[in-house]
């Protein structure tokens, strides 16, 4: 049986948890990049067929248990969805968008998705991000920025958690940064 691993397989997340700060890694999502300009001919129909509503700048539509669509740029959206639905979705999307100027790219192995929570979460973010997350990262908003020196996508879809998405190869570095910057809360 093929062994499935995440970027932070085996990392001790309990060692980071403490007084008002917790981190966990999400295991069961697939990540699909959709490149399309909203005004592309035929796009609207195809996207409706796929059940996708494109969000506006820095916006999010949908939900994690179906398809969470995040705006990354005027022609780039990141779709997070249950891993079990990923292959079927890619197939459907390619079929629906056939002949339309768009790209569907499986990037499921490309990321580590971390869930941060606790009362000190914005202090940990402030030590690593120049972006004022506590003020501007409202629910339903996604930003691309730097986390320490790694490119990151950060978003909020509920009141309690901040999602931090980094490239697979940077995940260990980000884990270390989280460990260092949350030390005083343990």
């Amino acid at each position: 049986m093929a062994k499935f691993e995440t970027a932070l397989e085996g990392h001790d997340f309990n060692a980071l948890a403490g007084n008002g700060f917790q981190v966990s890694e999400e295991r069961n999502y697939g990540y699909v990049v959709l490149r399309i300009r909203p005004n592309t001919a035929g796009a609207a129909e195809a996207l409706t067929q796929l059940g996708i509503q494109l969000p506006n700048a820095l916006g999010i539509t949908g939900a994690l248990d179906t398809k969470l669509v995040k705006w990354l740029s005027p022609d780039e959206y990141l779709i997070t969805l249950p891993l079990s639905q990923k292959d079927a979705f890619i197939k459907d999307a390619k079929a629906a968008l056939h002949g339309i100027f768009a790209a569907v790219v499986d990037n499921s192995g490309g990321y580590s998705l971390l869930k941060l929570s606790g009362e000190h979460v914005y202090e940990v973010l402030a030590k690593n991000c120049v972006y004022d997350c506590s003020k501007f990262l409202s629910e339903g908003k996604v930003i691309s920025t730097l986390f320490s020196k790694a490119a990151a996508v950060i978003y909020r879809i509920d009141a309690n958690n901040v999602y931090l998405m980094v490239r697979w190869s940077f995940a260990d570095y980000v884990f270390q940064a989280l460990a260092i910057s949350s030390r005083e809360f343990r």
Binding site: E5, D106, S108, Y111, A126, V130
Partner: protein, 988 residues
């Protein structure tokens, strides 16, 4: 003891005695003391020796401007702090401190013995004296270095940690004195989020002195402070120095979080210091001002202090700095200090260069007030014993003229004031120039940048009420509210600078760097005119205090000598940092292995378990080689290379950049960015591509697979991935926005296990049942979609070694599983994992270039002997095509890539080694780019770029390494192994 009875608002806690060590002896102070106040309270006058002359120095100030009292904290430990200012150090139990100067000690300084020669050691002394012969300079330098500088550097690793913190606020208020407090409260009450910073442990600034004189000041402080503390909009950071103000109101501030805590009691989970990176919509500079000392002979003698500092020690720490004080100055503030000293039970003498101030209240109390006099010299053996004063006369044409019949006044303290210098530093960091106020005799902040305000004594206010009123006003403005303008500052009545007649007397300007008034005169005599040059020639303001007390006096002296108005001389440039900042806090947590991201492939855990040695490529940690037993690198590499050539190897190729290219114009994009042709590459096929920039030089290479007519997967070099992605995006977005193509980085999505060697097919047949891996049906440079060990995979038959090779690409989540499955299945073939070093050897044996090693940004495809990869007939000329026919790019004699074989097959050249045409020649004709010992050939091989090298096949040339050897060698074709490409299909 010089400690007074309890002063009304003192900030020491007499219930908490603190024991500390200074110069090896034990002392006692109170909680709330600085090291300076505690030493003064203990009667310690001598705290240091001067930089150049080894003169005795005492504490002069009560804040960051202190030039003399540099100390080492916790010497020889992991907590060693060099050159701390005693005036800033909060004492804590068991603090160990010692003077940062003194050779060998502050009581006996060698440099002082050189006194007879001091008059020859004026500005420029070192340049002039040790100029020739030039060859001896290193010898001189070695000796001079021993005499120079202050504290010793730490000799142990720093035991503490540091961090960075990004702050965002509506209004940042810098300085917690009357103006800053009022500004913060006004802005907060108006609804703004406010960050208030102050460098001291407690807010209040100079209010602590005002409070000693006027209970209303203390009441106002208590009320304002309580309101700020309780205010939801206000965040207060004490012990925090705003040391730089950059564009767009970026304030950098250093917070000392644990410096005031006993070593053993510091929290190891917290940083010692924190760098706050503050973005503020508005900045209020309430930075205050520093007093200037007077210029007179021996003005560096211990016991000469700034007048305001004397009051500060009295009210904040209840320390009396002298029992027989002389207060002298050119402005009204000295009378307030005299009244303070009367209250402390002394009978000071007051000397004022001006006439006319009504000091009857003091004279009634028996205080001697000498108006129309100034000090000309301080005398005393180890500290002040008496002062010489002389009559003054002022004229508009000549300024102050001081008489030459001095009178003597006995005293043990000279509290002097030459006026005040507003702290314009931060305002100037973004390029503003201060302006000179004749009325206030000071350089004032221009405050001409948007979203910035100044308030308080930095703007000339001499009274706390005026400062507070202005603070409130700018606080409202900063919060975007209308406010009624406040009165113009109540300026202190200050007379012009009293510049000494420069003779042989030692009148110090910059105490820390031993710069005297006569040095300024000498610099001007030697024709230096710009104050920036005078500064550099004399070292005025070059110390760790950056001339806070000395610079403006130096400018005044320069103006007098050049007979120019002060404003015509101007100031030197104020640059960050305002006060010294530790290297630790600048680095923050980005130290050691965390100083730069380390990127790992999904196979990392396996590599580590296998005992791989790692090499950093870009930011990636790649296995370098996999040593077995006691093998060194050469033994391991030889074993790995032979395994690949004769049997089977495997390599982690996951780090290569991968870019997904989709759209109707995908093929066109490839044709434009690569030098070769792409029109006919069919789905299922791969092609090697060579990429140039517009200068025609090679910038990258890699294999691109055609997935479909509108879908390609490009690979880039490991180190070039981000750069090439940006390169493509830039061209697509700027020059070719009409091309219908999307590019997406999928570097991290795919993990790649390369199976390499004659037996590779046999292994593949074991692991992959749905792809026909036969040479006929899966030829070189094809790719197939299939399943490996049950995991969907893209398998590419590409090779960087010349051997049969399959690169298995799977989603990263299965990367380690596939790697370990290959390892397990390969046991029967004795499969050998290999690293980047063997990869380099194997590719060099085949003459494959590595972009960035064999090319260096000056190599065209023709130079690299890769004309076969250049297609000049494409509809849209590829990037760099035009450059290939430029006269310089097309000229003969360019350096071209060739192979080299040394006459001695065991001689391995150094990479970078220079090449010459004849033994005796010094004219370089090229250099070695790659060099290895080839295990399969049993001899050394090298690649090199040589002028006109492609026409010199078989020519004997020579390598000249740094060792002065001359190594004979022959230019050959760069393909050393398997020229017939017979191995590419492996075992049939």
């Amino acid at each position: 003891m010089k400690r007074l009875y309890k002063q009304a608002n003192e900030r020491i806690d007499r219930s908490k005695e603190i024991h500390f060590s200074w110069q090896g002896a034990h002392y006692t102070g109170y909680a709330g003391d600085t090291l300076a106040s505690a030493l003064l309270a203990n009667g310690v006058k001598l705290v240091g020796r001067s930089f150049k002359y080894g003169r005795q120095r005492g504490i002069m100030a009560a804040g960051v401007e202190e030039p003399n009292a540099l100390v080492i904290l916790e010497p020889e430990t992991g907590y060693h702090v060099p050159n701390a200012r005693a005036t800033e150090v909060e004492i804590y139990p068991d603090l160990v401190a010692k003077a940062a100067s003194g050779i060998p000690s502050i009581n006996e300084d060698l440099r002082a013995w050189l006194k007879p020669f001091h008059r020859f050691m004026a500005a420029g002394f070192y340049y002039k004296t040790f100029m020739s012969p030039a060859l001896l300079w290193p010898k001189y330098e070695e000796q001079l270095r021993k005499l120079a500088g202050f504290a010793t550097a730490p000799n142990k690793p720093d035991a503490e940690t540091y961090d960075h913190y990004n702050q965002h606020t509506d209004v940042a208020v810098i300085g917690g004195g009357a103006a800053g407090l009022a500004a913060a409260l006004a802005a907060a009450n108006a609804g703004s989020k406010v960050l208030l910073l102050d460098e001291r442990a407690q807010l209040g600034g100079e209010l602590v002195v005002d409070a000693g004189r006027d209970p209303a000041a203390q009441a106002w402080f208590n009320q304002t402070y309580a309101a700020l503390e309780a205010h939801a909009n206000v965040k207060i950071l004490v012990r925090t120095t705003a040391y730089a103000l950059h564009d767009y109101n970026l304030v950098l501030a250093l917070e000392r979080r644990q410096d005031h805590v006993t070593i053993g009691a510091r929290n190891p989970h917290q940083s010692r210091q924190r760098l706050h990176r503050i973005r503020a919509n508005k900045v209020v500079l309430a930075t205050g001002s520093h007093e200037r000392p007077l210029m007179f002979a021996n003005n560096d003698l211990p016991g000469v202090m700034l007048a305001s500092a004397v009051s500060r020690y009295q009210y904040e720490y209840s320390v009396l700095c002298g029992s027989k004080p002389l207060v002298v100055g050119n402005n009204d503030s000295i009378y307030e200090v005299a009244r303070d000293l009367v209250k402390a039970g002394t009978r000071p003498t007051v000397v004022d260069c001006r006439m006319g101030y009504d000091a009857s209240d003091l004279t009634k109390l028996g205080v001697l007030v000498k108006q129309g006099y100034t000090i000309v010299k301080a005398e005393g053996r180890t500290s002040v014993e008496r002062a010489l004063i002389a009559k003054t006369a002022y004229s508009d044409s000549h300024g102050w003229v001081v008489g030459d019949a001095p009178e003597t006044i006995a005293c043990d303290l000279i509290a002097c004031s030459g006026g005040f210098s507003p702290l314009v530093h931060l305002d100037c960091h973004t390029g503003s120039k201060p302006w000179f106020s004749k009325d206030y005799q000071a350089f004032m902040p221009a405050c001409d940048k948007p979203h910035r305000y100044v308030a308080g004594s930095v703007n000339g206010h001499s009274d706390w009420q005026g400062a507070a009123a202005e603070g409130e006003y700018v606080g409202l403005l900063a919060a975007g509210q209308a406010a009624n303008p406040v009165n113009a500052p109540k300026l202190l009545n200050v007379a012009d600078f009293i510049c000494p007649d420069v003779g042989r007397d030692k009148v110090f300007l910059d105490m820390q760097n031993d710069v005297k008034a006569s040095d300024i005169e000498l610099a001007i005599l030697e024709n230096y005119r710009s104050i920036e040059h005078i500064k550099r020639y004399t070292a005025l303001g070059f110390g760790t205090d950056q001339g806070k007390t000395g610079n403006v006096n130096g400018i005044a002296v320069a103006a007098k000598v050049m007979n120019l108005p002060i404003e015509a001389v101007g100031t030197t440039t104020f640059r960050p940092m305002y006060t010294p900042v530790t290297m630790g806090v600048l680095a923050g947590s980005e130290i050691g292995l965390h100083s730069d991201p380390q990127r790992f492939t999904p196979m990392q855990a396996s590599h580590r378990a296998k005992g791989a040695e790692f090499e950093v490529v870009g930011q990636w940690m790649r296995p370098w080689y996999f040593p077995q037993g006691s093998e060194d690198m050469h033994q391991a590499v030889a074993r790995e290379c032979l395994a690949v050539r004769n049997n089977l190897g495997m390599m982690d190729a996951s780090t290569l950049g991968k870019i997904d290219i989709q759209g109707p114009d995908a093929r066109e994009l490839l044709a434009r960015v690569y030098t070769n042709a792409w029109a006919k590459l069919a789905p299922g096929k791969c092609r090697y591509g060579l990429m140039c920039d517009e200068t025609g030089m090679i910038i990258d290479d890699g294999v691109t697979a055609c997935i479909s007519d509108t879908h390609f997967l490009m690979t880039t070099t490991t180190g070039g991935a981000a750069r090439i992605y940006n390169h493509l995006e830039t061209w697509l977005q700027t020059e070719w926005p009409d091309l219908k193509v999307y590019i997406t980085s999928v570097t991290d999505h795919w993990s790649t296990t390369a199976v390499v060697g004659p037996k590779a097919r046999r292994l593949m047949e074991k692991l992959c049942k749905d792809v026909d891996c036969s040479a006929a049906n899966f030829p070189f440079m094809d790719w197939r979609e299939g399943t490996v060990c049950g995991v969907p995979a893209r398998i590419m038959r590409i090779s960087f070694s010349g051997e049969l090779s399959y690169e298995i690409n799977v989603q990263a989540n299965y990367g380690r599983f596939i790697w370990e499955s290959v390892m397990e299945a390969g046991k029967e073939f004795n499969i050998t994992p290999y690293g980047t070093e063997s990869m380099h050897v194997l590719r060099a044996e085949k003459g494959y270039v590595i972009v960035g090693q064999d090319t260096d940004g000056s190599i065209t495809p023709y130079d690299a002997n890769m004309a076969w990869a250049v297609s000049l007939n494409k509809p849209y000329p590829f990037l760099g095509q035009r450059a290939l026919t430029r006269s310089d790019t097309a000229r003969p004699g360019r350096k071209q890539l060739v192979g080299l074989l040394t006459d001695d097959p065991h001689k391995v050249l150094n990479e970078g080694c220079q090449l010459v045409a004849e033994i005796g020649s010094k004219a370089m004709i090229g250099h070695v780019t790659s060099s290895y010992f080839s295990p399969v050939l049993g001899r050394s091989i090298a690649m090199a770029v040589v002028k006109g090298g492609l026409d010199l096949m078989g020519t004997k040339i020579y390598a000249k390494p740094l060792s002065y050897e001359v190594i004979p060698l022959t230019i050959v074709d760069s393909v050393f192994y398997d020229q017939g490409k017979e191995k590419i299909d492996g075992e049939i």
